[in-house]
Structure formats: structure tokens, C-alpha cells
């Protein structure tokens, strides 16, 4: 039995997201509400994608069609949740005693993005994991034997990507910065189509993680990070000493 593989892949795929949830979200009820809202909006995008997929029946077997429209729907719903959260911002702030800051705006974007990512991660891996507990492993038809591992890595990558994309996307919308929004939609489409060309092979994983690094760097820059901050963090300097 490959219960071992099952747990291994589960930890790889959901470990980072779990850590983020535990330390940054779990203790704040407001953030949990936003997280669930993020999940819900991703599900809505899935609902619309599947409705479209069902209606346009001649293209049911064309995976590319489904992927492209699914990405578009996700981005549209990312915009909707942005609108909703910004509208709700004032209401939500009544729970808080302090006035809103830029950090709070980024926090909302980050939490909603994690919700978005978690739901997409759940859907992309749960069915694969269900199969992983059986006695067999992939490969009898010549598929890569690393199928489960690459699926888990890909899922982990997508959860994090959604989180960072959301931060960039919300910032772009706030600033009316079209390139930032375009960057998110463009890279989402790019990486999704990449999986179409070479589905779940190590060759897809490396570019995906490169994109993740770039996205992460941009998001970090946007929320007020810099190389100096990073070095300060790495050299264990306390706040206050950081020189801007």
C-alpha cells in the first residue's frame, strides 16, 4: 500500500498553505471570513466554467478550451471578489479598533488569495490523492513514475501563486495599474497552458517554480519589502534598526 506516498504528497501540496493558515489566519476571525469568501469565489468561477463546458458540448473533449475559459473565469471572479472586499472594507473595519492602513489592504488581498489558492489546490489534487492510496503507481502505459510527486509540487505552486497573484492583482486594481493586472492574467494563462503542452512532467515544474519566484518577488516589493529588509531579516536585526 502506498499510504506513505499519500501522506508524502499531501504534506508537499498543502504543507506551505497549512503553515500560512496556522500562523497568519487562524487566530483572526475576520481573516477566516475573508479566506472563506476567497474559497467561495473560486468555487463560483469553477461553477461557471463547468456550466460553459457543459453547454459548449462539441468542445468537451478539447482540454485547451476548458483551460482557457477556466482561467478567464477565475480572473473575472478575482476581480469580483476585489470589488466586493473593497466595498465591504468599511464594514469590516468596524470590527477593528484601529484605522485602516496599507498593510491591512495587502492583508485582505493576501488572505483572499490564499482562499482562492486553497480551493483550487483542493480540486486539483484530491482526486489524484484518492488514487494514491491504492496499491499501484503510475507508469504502466509509460507515463512518468513521478506523477504523484509532480502533481503535489504543482498544486503547492498554484496555491502560492494564487496568493501572490491576488496581492499583485488587488494592488493593480487599487492603483489602476493595467500592467500589474495584465501580468497576473497573462502569467496565469501562460502557466496553465504550459501544463497543457507537457502535462505534469518535471519540465513543467521548473518554469512553474521560476514564475513563482518572480511573482513572489514582485508581490514582496509591492507590499513594502526590499533587499535591505530581507538582509535585515536574514541577519536577525530587530525592527527599528532597519534603514530605509
Amino acid at each position: 500500500m502506498t499510504v506513505k506516498e499519500f501522506f508524502g504528497c499531501t504534506f508537499i501540496a498543502y504543507g506551505p498553505a497549512f503553515a500560512l493558515f496556522i500562523f497568519t489566519i487562524a487566530r483572526e476571525p475576520l481573516r477566516i471570513i475573508i479566506l472563506i469568501a476567497g474559497c467561495f469565489f473560486w468555487l463560483l468561477s469553477l461553477l461557471f466554467s463547468s456550466v460553459l463546458w457543459n453547454i459548449v458540448w462539441p468542445l468537451k473533449d478539447q482540454l485547451a478550451f476548458g483551460v482557457v475559459f477556466s482561467v478567464l473565469f477565475q480572473e473575472v471572479f478575482r476581480f469580483f471578489i476585489y470589488k466586493l472586499l473593497r466595498k465591504a472594507d468599511e464594514g469590516l473595519q468596524t470590527f477593528s479598533d484601529e484605522p485602516p492602513t496599507a498593510t491591512d489592504k495587502h492583508m485582505i488581498a493576501y488572505v483572499a488569495g490564499l482562499g482562492f489558492g486553497l480551493m483550487s489546490g483542493a480540486f486539483s489534487l484530491v482526486n489524484v490523492l484518492a488514487m494514491a492510496t491504492g496499491p499501484g503507481t503510475v507508469g504502466i502505459h509509460g507515463d512518468t513514475p513521478y506523477f504523484f510527486l509532480t502533481s503535489a509540487l504543482m498544486t503547492s505552486c498554484f496555491i502560492l501563486l494564487h496568493t501572490f497573484w491576488n496581492v499583485i492583482f488587488f494592488w493593480g486594481c487599487d492603483k489602476r495599474n493595467i500592467p500589474a493586472v495584465g501580468f497576473v492574467v497573462g502569467f496565469h494563462m501562460l502557466i496553465s497552458c504550459l501544463t497543457l503542452i507537457r502535462p505534469l512532467q518535471p519540465a513543467t515544474i521548473i518554469p512553474a517554480y521560476c514564475i513563482l519566484l518572480v511573482t513572489m518577488a514582485i508581490a514582496y516589493k509591492l507590499v513594502g519589502g526590499s533587499v535591505n529588509n530581507l538582509t535585515a531579516f536574514l541577519t536577525c536585526k530587530r525592527a527599528g534598526y532597519a534603514s530605509n
Binding site: 508524502g8 504534506f11 482526486n127 492510496t133 502505459h141 503535489a152
Partner: protein, 715 residues
């Protein structure tokens, strides 16, 4: 399992789009085995036999055994158990199976089903039943001289393989594509040098055929009964059984009861056979020659004109079901006769046949295996014990004289084995056990040990008894083709028909020569029962509905007795219809299927609206059927062991107690397994990723003011 269960329920909550991918992931990992005949668990009062897998199935690394050396390697040197050997037919022997089982290295066995025309049997023969079949339920159970085949070993090649209890599955692969898939997978992944280490991933097989019943019939029935009172009733096993078919040359009627008259002639044969593998069709060919010859003899006698039939003694043809399992069919018939319930309890309101009792039987002729008589001669066996009574001895001698007279004008020689030799396993034993005054003989193709080297196995195939139908023939040519067996069985059937005629009519041997069994009939019966059930004869004699059901059957009908249903099994139904067709009178006035119904008050006859032959309509090229209504004194009787009628009888050791375990799924699949080390690496990577994430996020969160110095103005 709990994990996969919870994940699965989560999945069900998901939406249908998942399913598309869900299936494809399954297909990426598994290749299903499409057709298999498993060895299933059966139980009697004291034992369980057969096979079962674990609840979640048995998994083993595939090892293709094409040579004896492959089996030896598994037993001696294989290092990474469990294995799942795939064995070619000549290697699947008792010794090999026992060696593999004793090694503890196999989790199941797959057997290649050889080509039916070239089955490649083990050179030493193959019979997986006991050396002394049905021992303990026959006539000589406690006989000091004859018990346990002391006097003659009937089946010396019998190994008893079918009667062993295996804790792993054994499956016969019926589809050559599956075998090819397995061998291909083996060649790609498992073809390592026998000495060196295996290289993962390895090709493996899972067989799932968990049996619900366990221990023995008594336990299993008690469990089912206990469960029947619960909220979730569950049946663990069912008693084996079906229906016997019996018919008479002219109707028996209770208005002229047999009473104490001893002038009934009973001719019987057994229908069923058994092999280690569940419900394989077209096996037990030599076993089938008996009932085929008797059916053909019934046709020859059925053609006599009505006046002549009226002048003859009553002749009853009986086709017993379940005889392979300690005489289920005959033990029930004898039990019913003894209680005065055969054919049924008398009831004033309905038209019924007269009661038949064992004491009414004057002559009993049983046809056993007769397919190989040209090699080993035709033999008439009788019981030495009951012949100590002179009245019985005289009647037995009369039967033998009749057989000798019947052979006169043909070149068949009938011989008697030495007078001290016991009766071979036969339904007659159950009659004699109840009433030692029944005079009977058993016709067979062996003097002592069986001539059949494949008794009760999947290898008792038509080709082994000389059914040499050339490969290139079209189905309708093969149907009419006279095989070696067809020619030789026609002679035996003629002898049987004439013997019955002589016994029933007091005519001379020369007058009996007018009785002739048609070789076409034999050819058709052999073809339909052993080669292809979807054949013109069956299509003609069945009802249109049953005939349509046979169309989808790829080969011959299985003859395993199975478990009883409201209606008779397909094989009993077909035999009843063929017998009705041969013995019956057509009723042209009833030309609609709705009119041709057995009247509810008539328990003497059966009315069947037969499908008839296809008639091509030349004007519009459509086919219609010349359906007709036919009536004959042919009925079913229960072939269910009396043991299950009461607790006392279940424990009495008198009657067969065989039950078949129930099961829910039977499937098998091929896939790759990764090494233990690889799985551990995956798990370790997962744990490391989780821990690193936790630590990293903890520090990022606690030092967020260092990392993110977001100036208000920047937003």
C-alpha cells in the same frame, strides 16, 4: 483505508467535472483484467474449500512461469515476496500449486486458459477431484469390503486440488488479451536476471474475490439465520442445487397408480460437472456424453408410434443435477420417493402423475461417461452386494442380456467387470442405498479406473474425446459435421435405445433393430452442448425469449450446478426443452404463445411454445419462425439436498451439505508498484516540506515588521 474512504467521500461532495480526471488517473495506473473464472469457496458440513482473497484484495509481483524452472525459482530463490505467478496450463499441477503454497511466497495464482483445440494439459493428466469421487455419500459408505474405494480406485489421477482450502485467490484467465497484457507488462518491467536484484518499478497484479462465507455450511447457515433477524440481514452462503429433469415415454397418471407393481424402467444420466474454476463453460465433455446419449435414445424411442408406446412398460428418463456434489439430485429424488412425495404430494383437485417409489423400479439403466469406449471398451457395472439376493441378480442379468441383445447387430461389445467389483460412483448408488432391491446397471467406458484423464477438470474438453471439428468450418457446417466422437456415440446411444426398448416391450433382438439413433441428432447435441449453445437446435426448441438470451452467449453453457432460483438453470431448462421436443406431441390447434400454456390443473404435462425453425420469406427477405406448441410428460423436480430441510438432517451426514459462499466483487487489475524506499523518500520530502514551511512562516510572521516596512505613502 480510512484515509481513502474520507477522501472519497470528500470527492463525492465535489462536482462531476472531477470524474473525468478521476477516471483518467485510474486508467493511468491500472489495466483491468476483463474476464476471469475464479476459484470460489464452497463449504460442506465440516470443511471449507476453494479460494478467497483478503478484504482489500491480494497483491503480488507478477512472475510469468513458462517453464518448470520458473516455478522452482519462485519456490527456492525468490527474495521479494509476495509474488503472483502466471502459469501456463501444463505447469498448473497439484505438485506445483502445493509447492508454491508451502513456500508462502505467493499471494495468488493466475492460470492461462489454453486454446480449446490445443489445451496443453499436464503430461500426467489432471483431475483436481478425489481419487474416490463422492466417497461417503454413496452405497458403500460403511461397507467393510468396498468403503473408500478399497476395492477399486476409480479416479487414480485425482489429486484433490479442488478440495483444498486456499487463503489466496486462484483465477483462470479467459481472455487472451489479458494474458498478452500480463506477459507484455512482465517483459517490460519484471524481466530481471533471476539472480540479480529486481529493479523497481515492478509489474504487479491485484485479485479481489473476498468470500463472505467461512468455516463450514453449518456455521455459515447459522450466521445467515442470526443476521436475518437484524436490521441489515446478510446471507453468507447458499445451498447448491437446481432442478432435475424427468420425463416419461407415455404419461403417468394417478388414475392408474403404480402401487406395488414393479414394472417401471428408469434410465438416468447426470447433467452437471465441476472444475476448480467457477462456471467455465464447455468442460466436462466426457461427463456430458452420458446425458447426450440418453437424450438421443429418448428421441429414438419417442418416435415410436403411439399404439406401440401404449403396449410397453413405463419408461422414465431422468437427468440429475448436482450429482458432482455428493449426489444432490438423486439423493433428493430418492428422499421424495421414500416419503411418497415424488413427483408430488397427491391432491384431489389437480390432474397428477401417479406416485413413483423406488420399489416400482424394475430395471434401472444409468449412462455414465461413455465417450472413450472405443479405446477401452463398453462396460456394464452392477453392485455385487445387492446381487446376493437372487431376485435382484435375475433382474440385473435380464438387463445385461438386453444390452447384449441390443449390441447384436452392431459392432459394439459389451462386457461385465469382475463380479466382485463395486459399482462406480453413480446416481444408482443413492437408489440402492435406500432400496437394495433396485436392479440396475451403469454403462461406462471404463472397466476399473476412469479412461478419462481429466475427470472433473477444465481440461475435460471436447477435443480430448475426439470432437475433431476442422478449424476452418463455418458454424452451420460444424453443426452438421460428424466427428469421431459423433460416430462412436451414435453406436452407444443406439445400444441404449434398443436396450430400453427390449426391457420395456418383450420384443426380440431382431425386432429391436428398427430402433436406430440418428447420427445427425448426436452431432447436433454434441455441438450444442459442448461447442456452441447458440445453435439451430437450441434456437428451435427454446421459447423465443430463451433463444434470444442464448444469442449473446459466446460458447457452450456452463454445467456447474450453482445455487437454486425460482426457475431452472439454463442447462436444465435446455435439457427439459430438448426432451419435450423428442418425447412430445405437437398441438397444431394452439398456435399462439398465449394459448400454449400448461393448464394450472394439469401437473402431468408441460406445454411449451417452441420458437421453431427460421423461415425465410422470399418476397420481402424477412425471417419469421415456424413456432409451434408442444406437450410432453416432462417435468422438473427439485435437486436441492434434503439436508437443508431440517437441522437433524443437516447434521445427519446422510445427505450432501454443499453450500457456495457469497461474494460481492470479483476483479483483478495489473499495475506497477514502486519500491518501499521510493515511497519512504516521498514521505520524508513531504514531512520536510511541512516542517520547513511551519518554521519559515513562523519567523516571517513574527518578524513581519522587519520584512514589510510598508510606508503609508506608497499606497
Amino acid at each position: 483505508m480510512a484515509v481513502s474512504g474520507s477522501v472519497f467521500s470528500l470527492l463525492l461532495l465535489c462536482f462531476p467535472l472531477c470524474l473525468a480526471q478521476f477516471r483518467s488517473v485510474h486508467d493511468m495506473i491500472y489495466v483491468n483484467i476483463t474476464a476471469q473464472a475464479p476459484c470460489v469457496r464452497l463449504m460442506n458440513a465440516t470443511h471449507q474449500i476453494g479460494c478467497t482473497s483478503a478484504v482489500s484484495g491480494n497483491v503480488g509481483v507478477l512472475h510469468y512461469c513458462a517453464e518448470q524452472s520458473d516455478v522452482d525459482w519462485l519456490v527456492r530463490s525468490a527474495k521479494n515476496p509476495p509474488y503472483m505467478p502466471l502459469m501456463v496450463p501444463p505447469l498448473f499441477t497439484y505438485d506445483n500449486v502445493q509447492a508454491l503454497r508451502a513456500s508462502g511466497k505467493v499471494s495468488g495464482i493466475l492460470v492461462v486458459n489454453g486454446n480449446r483445440s490445443d489445451p496443453q494439459p499436464p503430461p500426467t493428466g489432471f483431475s483436481p477431484v478425489h481419487k474416490c469421487p463422492n466417497d461417503g455419500y454413496g452405497l458403500y459408505k460403511d461397507d467393510p469390503e468396498y468403503a473408500h474405494c478399497k476395492n477399486t480406485t476409480w479416479n487414480p489421477l485425482g489429486t484433490g486440488l479442488s478440495y483444498l482450502d486456499f487463503d489466496f485467490p486462484i483465477s483462470l484467465l479467459l481472455n487472451q488479451t489479458d494474458v498478452d497484457n500480463l506477459i507484455d507488462c512482465y517483459n517490460r518491467f519484471n524481466k530481471y536476471d533471476n539472480e540479480s536484484n529486481q529493479q523497481y518499478p515492478l509489474c504487479a497484479v491485484q485479485i479481489k474475490d473476498r468470500m463472505d462465507g467461512a468455516k463450514d455450511s453449518i456455521t455459515c447457515i447459522r450466521r445467515s439465520e442470526l443476521s436475518s433477524q437484524s436490521l441489515n440481514p446478510f446471507v453468507y452462503c447458499d445451498a447448491l442445487g437446481d432442478k432435475n429433469v424427468w420425463g416419461t415415454l407415455r404419461p403417468l397418471n394417478k388414475s392408474t397408480p403404480l402401487d406395488n407393481r414393479k414394472d417401471l424402467i428408469l434410465a438416468s444420466a447426470k447433467i452437471d460437472t465441476w472444475s476448480l474454476f467457477h462456471n467455465v463453460g464447455g468442460v466436462g465433455a466426457n461427463d456430458a456424453t452420458g446425458f447426450i446419449a440418453l437424450l438421443a435414445a429418448a428421441e429414438a424411442l419417442g418416435k415410436l408410434d403411439q399404439a406401440e408406446k401404449e403396449g410397453m412398460k413405463d419408461v422414465m428418463f431422468v437427468f440429475f443435477q448436482g450429482e458432482s456434489f455428493d449426489y444432490i439430485g438423486s439423493s433428493r429424488m430418492v428422499y421424495d420417493m421414500k416419503r411418497g412425495h415424488f413427483p408430488e404430494k397427491l391432491d384431489d383437485k389437480v390432474l397428477q402423475p401417479s406416485l413413483v417409489n423406488t420399489k416400482n423400479i424394475q430395471y434401472y439403466l444409468e449412462v455414465s461417461q461413455v465417450g472413450l469406449w472405443e479405446q477401452s471398451g463398453l462396460w456394464a457395472h452392477s453392485d455385487p452386494v445387492s446381487q446376493k439376493t437372487s431376485a435382484v441378480r435375475d433382474n440385473v442379468n435380464t438387463i445385461f442380456a438386453a444390452i447384449e441383445n441390443a449390441t447384436e447387430s452392431s459392432n459394439v461389445t459389451i462386457r461385465k467387470p469382475p463380479s466382485f467389483q463395486a459399482l462406480p460412483p453413480a446416481s444408482l448408488q443413492r437408489f440402492l442405498r435406500e432400496d437394495s432391491r433396485v436392479a440396475g446397471m451403469v454403462l461406462s467406458d471404463h472397466m476399473a479406473a476412469y479412461s478419462n484423464d481429466y475427470f472433473m477438470s477444465r481440461l475435460d474438453l471436447p477435443v480430448e474425446i475426439g470432437m475433431d471439428i476442422p478449424a476452418g468450418l463455418k458454424p452451420d457446417q460444424a453443426y452438421d459435421y460428424t466427428t469421431k466422437q459423433g460416430a462412436s456415440l451414435t453406436k452407444v446411444a443406439t445400444v441404449i435405445a434398443r436396450t430400453l426398448y427390449l426391457l420395456a416391450s418383450n420384443k426380440t433382438a431382431s425386432e429391436a433393430t428398427k430402433i436406430e439413433v440418428n447420427s445427425t441428432t448426436i452431432n447436433h447435441l454434441l455441438y450444442c452442448f459442448l461447442q456452441q449453445a447458440n445453435c439451430p437446435l437450441f434456437a428451435e426448441v427454446l421459447t423465443s425469449k430463451s433463444a434470444a438470451a442464448l444469442k449473446s452467449l459466446p460458447g457452450p453453457l456452463p454445467r456447474y450446478v450453482s445455487v437454486p432460483h425460482d426457475t431452472a438453470s439454463q442447462i436444465s431448462q435446455v435439457i427439459a426443452n430438448v426432451l419435450t421436443f423428442y418425447l412430445g406431441e405437437r398441438l397444431p390447434s394452439l398456435n399462439k404463445s398465449s394459448e400454449c400454456k400448461t393448464p394450472s390443473k394439469d401437473h402431468i404435462h408441460s406445454y411449451i411454445f417452441m420458437n421453431g425453425r427460421p423461415v425465410l420469406n422470399p418476397t420481402d427477405n424477412t425471417t419469421s419462425y415456424a413456432s409451434f406448441c408442444i406437450r410432453a410428460p416432462v417435468r422438473f423436480s427439485k435437486a436441492e439436498s434434503p439436508a437443508f430441510l431440517s437441522k437433524e438432517m443437516l447434521h445427519s451426514n446422510e445427505y450432501p451439505t454443499w453450500t457456495e459462499s457469497r461474494w460481492t466483487v470479483i476483479n483483478a487489475k495489473i499495475f506497477l508498484v514502486s519500491s518501499e524506499a521510493e515511497q519512504t523518500i516521498t514521505l520524508s520530502v513531504g514531512v520536510v516540506v511541512l516542517l520547513v514551511s511551519l518554521v519559515l512562516v513562523y519567523f516571517i510572521n513574527s518578524k513581519s515588521e522587519v520584512l514589510f516596512t510598508a510606508p503609508e505613502a506608497a499606497y
